[in-house]
Amino acid sequence: MTLTMFTLNAFYGLALAMNMFIIASGLNLIFGVLRVINFAHGMFYMFGAYITFTVTKSWGAPFFVGVIAAAASLAVISLVIERLLLKHLYDKEHLMQLLFTFAIVLLMSDAAKMIWGTDQYSVGYPAGLGGAINLGFVVLPQYQLFLCAVGPSIAVAMWLLVDRTRWGRVVRAATQDREMLAALGVNVPMVYAAVFTIGSALAGVGGALAAPRIALVPGMDATIINECFIIVIIGGLGNLWGSFLGALAFGLVVQFGTVLAPNWQDVLPYLLMLVVLLIRPWGLLGRPETGH
């Protein structure tokens, strides 16, 4: 592999990693605070991509309007799901929550078929980001560079929000002791609703940003949700920087795997997770569960 090829693949791997991180960080936030394993997260991602398609192609709006529309729509959808249904399940077993989110997946997948049909769609690169930058030995596409900038920005923003604000302290307290927090006068259900909404909106943003890179087809949610779980598990459940690390490992393994071992890329992420879990059972930055 020449230096050019290596750089190009590493770069594409990073761009993929950052796109995946945006999605996975939402899943991770929801798990970290609500302890809910949200299978519908992949479906939120798919809706994000499809909404971006409708807004940009059918309505002719600029790409970034599509991204905002995706985030806003997913925030509304997830808020409705949380307030109407999910809030009744926080005290039930994990299994019930998992089944619930799976039911949402099924209902939303049929809804997507009714709204958008089963055709394949594509979304163009946003204006100004469709070109490439020539570094002499390698030519890097602008859109992927843009993703490489957005991913870390979101990571830092989330870190600031959760680790450096009063609201973030409340959120972290909610992961520790929900009852005590409520006793101190914090409206815990509103914290939960906010976290679920933010996490789901991130899936929408991730889907919107993925739209120019990929083909939009029914079923695109299924692989993504497994891959997000892999990333979150590799990094350590509930750990923001763990997810960032997990996404990097995932992106690079998939990108180089596709080149070096064609057709094995579907299995490689699972192999990666297997190796990580066998060596570090609680993920790279995770800590052992202490009886939640």
Binding site: L85, H94, L277, E289
Partner: protein, 309 residues
């Protein structure tokens, strides 16, 4: 030992099923064969879920290994069924033992994800090892003994195998071993204190589940005359998981009802509407919000209400 009324009830069920082909409907016989196979599959998974309290996301792996192994031995290697079937079941059990050895070190979601990872590896092998498994074309044209080539013959064979399988699982789950598993599920720490090697118990349960899952898979492959990589995919694992949860995990027979209900409902729904996912989604919502103990829980509640009046 089973109570007498349970034995009688089981005998009646088997007898009624045995009479089914007399009705003369090929459709009914085929449907019953499928339900029997799924019932065994779901029941095998519940050894892990209901009896040890761990969720396996990768149970399709053992189903697929049993199915592929039996198909390949029968067809490629011309083994007689009497050797091919046990060999396939043993192979599924062995793989489950190896995978389980690693998985039972973990619990909760980590356990589930590790079982999923191993299952996807099995899927990858079935997909890539084209020379042996047929890859994404599937393994088709399975050779069956003449006796089983007819659908009624195969139905009786399935009924016999499933009946034996269910009886074996019943004995295992109600033995001292099964009760120890329940103790581990209810409180692993306390079970450890009284000297139970909890990890080893969960390992054994995982192996048992894989073995019987392999048996169900072998039947499935023979019934469909083919195995396909979709049978190893995580969607198949999710499907059987839903069967178990729909039936109810805290009862031995629950998964049987869950398998029958889900499969029949799917078949009938598909005749009327392409929106099976919506129907299933609504069913799941009902289970989660209204019937957390599955169909068996519903039956128990109904019984309790009748007892009161």
């Amino acid at each position: 030992m089973p109570e007498r009324r349970h034995l009688i009830a089981s005998a009646i069920v088997v007898l009624l099923l045995a009479l089914l082909p007399l009705a003369g409907s090929r459709y009914a016989v085929d449907l019953a064969t499928e339900v029997l196979i799924y019932a065994l599959f779901a029941l095998s998974l519940n050894v892990v879920i209901g009896f040890t309290g761990n969720i396996s996301f990768g149970h399709a792996a053992y189903f697929a290994i049993g199915g592929y192994a039996c198909a390949i031995l029968l067809t490629t290697h011309n083994w007689p069924l009497i050797f091919a079937l046990p060999a396939a079941v043993v192979l599924a059990g062995l793989v489950a033992a190896v995978v389980g050895y690693f998985c039972v070190r973990l619990t909760q979601i980590y356990f589930a994800m590790l079982t999923l990872a191993f299952a996807m590896l099995v899927w990858g092998v079935a997909f890539k090892w084209k020379a042996v498994t047929g890859g994404d074309d599937g393994f088709t044209g399975i050779k069956l003994p003449a006796m089983l080539a007819h659908h009624v013959g195969f139905f009786y064979f399935t009924l016999a195998v499933v009946a034996v399988g269910v009886a074996a699982l019943w004995v295992i789950c109600h033995s001292a071993f099964g009760l120890t598993l329940v103790a581990v599920r209810e409180n692993a720490v306390r079970a450890g204190f009284i000297g139970v090697d909890t990890r080893r118990m969960r390992w054994a349960a995982f192996t048992v589940a894989g073995t019987f899952g392999g048996l169900a898979g072998a039947l499935f492959g023979m019934y469909h005359r083919g195995m396909y990589i979709e049978n190893a995919y995580w969607t198949e694992s999710a499907n059987v998981l839903i069967m178990v949860l729909l039936g109810g995990i805290y009862s031995f027979v629950g998964p049987i009802f869950g398998a029958a209900a889900l499969h029949l409902l799917q078949v009938f729904t598909n005749q009327y509407t392409p929106y099976w996912p919506t129907v299933l989604g609504l069913i799941l919502l009902v289970i989660v919000l209204v019937l957390p103990n599955g169909l068996i829980g519903l039956a128990a509640r109904f019984k309790a209400r009748q007892g009161k009046t």
